[in-house]
């Protein structure tokens, strides 16, 4: 458990916020793909924590940046926490991305608020001089996040929107499948809607590339005590909070 203080909390796209918190011990412990489980105080009728992946951690500054979408009560209350306000979180939670040694070229596919853990991964891959291609999908232009950040890391970025207001009109799984068909990827990673990850996993399997997905589940505890975050895999039921949220896509039965 870590206490944290809000450094900043601002809207970076329609309904999407960037939250920077100060939590020194956490900042140096997090690994890409892991998550934190945040207590959002203020409403005794809404008790469970909010699990959020992180986008980046600055061990020196002792800060962690998270991006989140306001979708319900807890995230709405979270968006109202101003600089200086404080709470606590559990973390680092789960297992992060397990990029195979020797990876040279990676394809990252992210949809909507699935961007942060993938962008976090892109940062790590860039440090390791892995070639990174990215396919991003958003409902509409006003909700797009991360494009500039991916580009700044040197990645080639393909953007799609469901309504054509930005980039290609359509789903980002199409360019992703195309790229995979062209070959050369030894690692694929994806986070976004279940149907998207399922398609990416299928395309990766066809292309023979190792693929990881970061799955979302309703989490009651976030630390292995409740069995509510189950993921059906070929090896049986696995808890997303401890065995995931990142899974080898070829083992996942239900995304």
């Amino acid at each position: 458990m870590h206490d944290f203080e809000v450094v900043s909390n601002r809207e970076i796209a329609d309904g999407v916020f960037s939250l920077v918190i100060s939590a020194p011990k956490l900042a140096s412990a997090l690994k890409p793909g892991q998550f934190v489980n945040i207590a959002v105080p203020g409403d005794a009728s809404s008790l469970l924590r909010v699990p959020l992946s992180y986008y980046r951690a600055d061990a020196e500054a002792g800060t962690v940046e998270l991006w989140y979408a306001v979708v319900g009560d807890d995230t709405r209350r979270l968006s109202q926490m101003g600089p200086g306000s404080s709470s606590n979180l559990l973390g680092p939670g789960g297992r992060g991305w397990m990029v195979p040694e020797g990876t040279r070229k990676a394809l990252l596919v992210a949809g909507g608020i699935g961007v942060p853990p993938v962008l976090c991964l892109a940062g790590m891959l860039a440090e390791q001089s892995v070639d990174v291609d990215v396919c991003l999908g958003f409902g509409t232009a006003s909700k797009a996040v991360g494009i500039d950040e991916f580009r700044a890391l040197g990645a080639t970025v393909n953007v799609c929107t469901d309504d054509g207001t930005l980039g290609t009109h359509g789903f980002c799984t199409d360019p992703a499948a195309e790229l995979l068909g062209e070959g050369g990827y030894d690692y694929v990673a994806s986070c976004g809607p279940a149907v998207m990850m399922k398609k990416v996993a299928a395309a990766a399997a066809e292309a023979g590339a190792y693929c990881e997905v970061s799955l979302e589940r309703m989490m009651s505890c976030g630390f292995g005590a409740c069995n509510t975050c189950n993921v059906e895999t070929v090896d049986g039921m696995k808890g997303a909070c401890m065995c995931g949220p990142v899974f080898d896509a070829s083992k996942v039965v239900v995304f």
């Binding site: 458990m1 207590a39 005794a44 009728s45 809404s46 008790l47 469970l48 924590r49 559990l90 589940r217 309703m218 989490m219 009651s220 505890c221 976030g222 630390f223 292995g224 005590a225 409740c226 069995n227 509510t228 975050c229 189950n230 993921v231 059906e232 049986g236 039921m237 239900v254």
Partner: protein
């Protein structure tokens, strides 16, 4: 610290304080070891295990609702043998360190309950007692349906009684508790856990589907609390065996309400998810309350509700 005796005897399980944990909300105990010193609790109750492993229900297994949550875990468990192997050593040490371990028994039929209990007795001799779960709202057979009649519940209890002389408890469904409690007492129960989660339904009005895997799920959290307090009181009027109060305990005062209504010990459930240190915090708050009541022994407060 320490002017009030907090130790209680829950049907033969000697607890250093009245705080227990609710099955299914505390894993197998070791999940909490990085958060606090679990050995300071009175007891923990481990997630129900059956003779064979159960996969549980598909996702989604949980939805948050105002004042609580609804779950549809369906008693996923690795089976008693794997449980004993994987968690046994840690739990045995825990019981040596002063925190009693109560193992929960799951089954779909009288025979399955007996088989699981036999395995526990053989493989988990360090357990201080066993809690028979005849009230899981999320399994088709052997769950709430079985625990909702005096005959069904007591048939399981009577059969299990033959297996062991160790303390045996029954986790009760939140229906008709006074009558069923009497049947369970007659069948040899050493104590009763009141109550298991309440059957509920949460519908996503946009998709028109259940928010969990099955139409119904089990409700937990503060929303259950005042129903559970009433049921503990009803059971306390009906039987002489001790009661473990379960349902929506978030604070020491919630625990105190159960004690006043007649519970000898109190289990913390959903609160463990909200704050992993909740159970220990509640133990301290309960002690502070007992002190404020000017008693020497918490047992003086058991059933001390005035009406």
């Amino acid at each position: 610290m320490g002017t009030v005796n907090m130790a209680v005897d829950f049907g033969g399980v000697k607890m250093q304080n009245p705080i227990n944990t609710a099955a299914g909300t505390f894993g197998y105990g070791w999940q909490f070891q990085n958060f606090f010193d679990v050995s300071q609790l009175g007891a923990i109750t481990t997630k129900g295990c059956a003779a064979e492993p159960w996969p549980g229900n598909p996702a989604p297994r949980m939805a948050e609702i105002p004042g609580g949550m609804i779950n549809s875990v369906g008693l996923q468990n690795p089976g008693v043998a794997a449980f004993a192997r994987e968690s046994g050593p840690w739990l045995e040490q825990l019981s040596k360190d002063g925190c009693q371990v109560i193992c929960q028994v799951a089954g779909h039929s009288v025979d399955e309950f007996v088989r699981a209990l036999e395995m526990y007795v053989e493989l988990c001799p360090w357990a201080a007692g066993y809690e028979i779960n005849v009230s899981c709202p999320n399994i088709a057979a052997g769950g709430a349906a079985m625990g909702s009649t005096p005959e069904g519940a007591s048939s399981v209890m009577a059969a299990c009684r033959k297996v062991t002389d160790k303390p045996l408890f029954v986790k009760m469904a939140p229906v008709n508790v006074a009558e069923i409690a009497k049947a369970l007492e007659a069948a040899g129960a050493d104590g009763l856990s009141v109550i298991n989660s309440i059957q509920g339904m949460a519908i996503d009005v946009h998709t028109r589907k259940s928010r969990v895997a099955k139409p119904k799920g089990g409700l937990s959290g503060p929303l259950c609390h005042h129903i559970a307090v009433r049921m503990v009181w009803e059971v306390a009027q009906a039987v002489d065996i001790p009661i473990n109060g379960v349902g929506g305990v978030m604070t020491g005062e919630d625990a105190a309400e159960f004690i006043l209504a007649g519970a000898t010990c109190v289990s913390v459930g959903m609160a463990n998810f909200v704050d992993p240190c909740a159970s220990l915090k509640i133990a301290h708050e309960l002690e502070a309350w007992a002190e404020s009541q000017g008693v020497k022994d918490i047992n003086e407060l058991v059933g001390a509700f005035e009406c």
